[in-house]
Amino acid sequence: MENLGYLLAAYTVIWAVVFGYVLAMQRKQRRLQRQIDLLQKSADQTKTNS
């Protein structure tokens, strides 16, 4: 079991980076959804006013 620490470090880094990237994508998706909601609201308002 010599060098087990290196093996664990490598696999931890891989999963941490992949997981971090997926989280960042999720955050971006939420931000874009908020922008779409705002655009929808403003389009509805314009329609009501005209």
Binding site: M1, E2, N3, L4, Y6, L7, A9, A10, Y11, V13, I14, V17, V18, Y21, V22, M25, K28, Q29, L32, Q35, I36, L39, S42, A43, T46
Partner: protein
């Protein structure tokens, strides 16, 4: 997102999960420990697939960049950018897991040999690709400049691949193609490559979807301001 896309993503997610579980089982339970390097050699089963995916990612960026410059369709730019982003993430993993494996086997974290240096250059090229896109005055300019880097930068991929055969390097040669692996090792490697390829497809599909969404929002904002 329509029903067909949701179904496709669910299938990819399910397939990716099953393959990744199989890959982890094979790496830690099924495959025998390599005699000379010991347990640390098991880094190989993720280090090589991650490197393979980064090459694939930059190849897709290369093709999608050509298609974008030719057809000027935003979907090709979205694919090129999403793929380059995943490629950079996976090249980062190659550059981190490589030294972690090198330290116990070579006794050093890093050496400026041809394979390692060209891999670092590859990472810098595509980091520049992402930076150029982000720093551009307008998105179409960024897409155009990015596409040029995506095409020219791809030159480094075959160079990275061939370094171990063209020069004497510290890095081992491509033993996969030379029959240097036993059947269980080869089988484990194939399953790991399949798992990471599915993960790559899933990330690019999601990433390209987000980039198209971003472009549509920009367009709608512009249209509303113009009213």
């Amino acid at each position: 997102m329509n029903g067909r896309h949701t179904l496709r993503n669910s299938i990819l997610l399910g397939l990716g999960f099953v393959l990744m579980m199989a890959a982890l089982f094979m790496v830690f339970v099924y495959v025998p420990t390599e005699k000379h390097s010991g347990i640390v050699q098991r880094i190989f089963y993720f280090h090589v697939p991650v490197a393979w995916v980064s090459f694939l990612a930059f190849f897709v960026t290369f093709i999608a960049s050509i298609l974008y410059l030719w057809k000027r369709e935003i979907k090709w730019d979205a694919v090129a950018c999403a793929s380059a982003e995943v490629g950079v993430i996976f090249t980062t993993l190659v550059l981190i897991t490589g030294p972690i494996w090198a330290k116990p086997t070579w006794g050093i974290w890093w050496t400026w040999d041809a394979r390692l240096t060209t891999s670092l250059v590859l990472w810098l090229i595509y980091l520049a690709y992402l930076l150029v896109r982000r720093l551009a005055n307008e998105p179409t300019q960024g897409a155009r400049h990015g596409a040029v880097i995506g095409i020219v930068g791809f030159i480094d991929v075959p160079i990275v691949f061939l370094t171990v055969n063209l020069w004497r390097t510290q890095h081992p040669t491509t033993i996969v193609f030379e029959g240097g692996l036993t059947t269980p090792m080869l089988l484990t490697l194939v399953v790991c490559i399949a798992a990471f390829t599915v993960l790559y497809i899933l990330l690019v599909v999601q990433g390209a979807g987000l980039k198209s969404m971003e472009a549509n929002i920009r367009y709608l904002k512009g249209a509303m301001q113009g009213e």
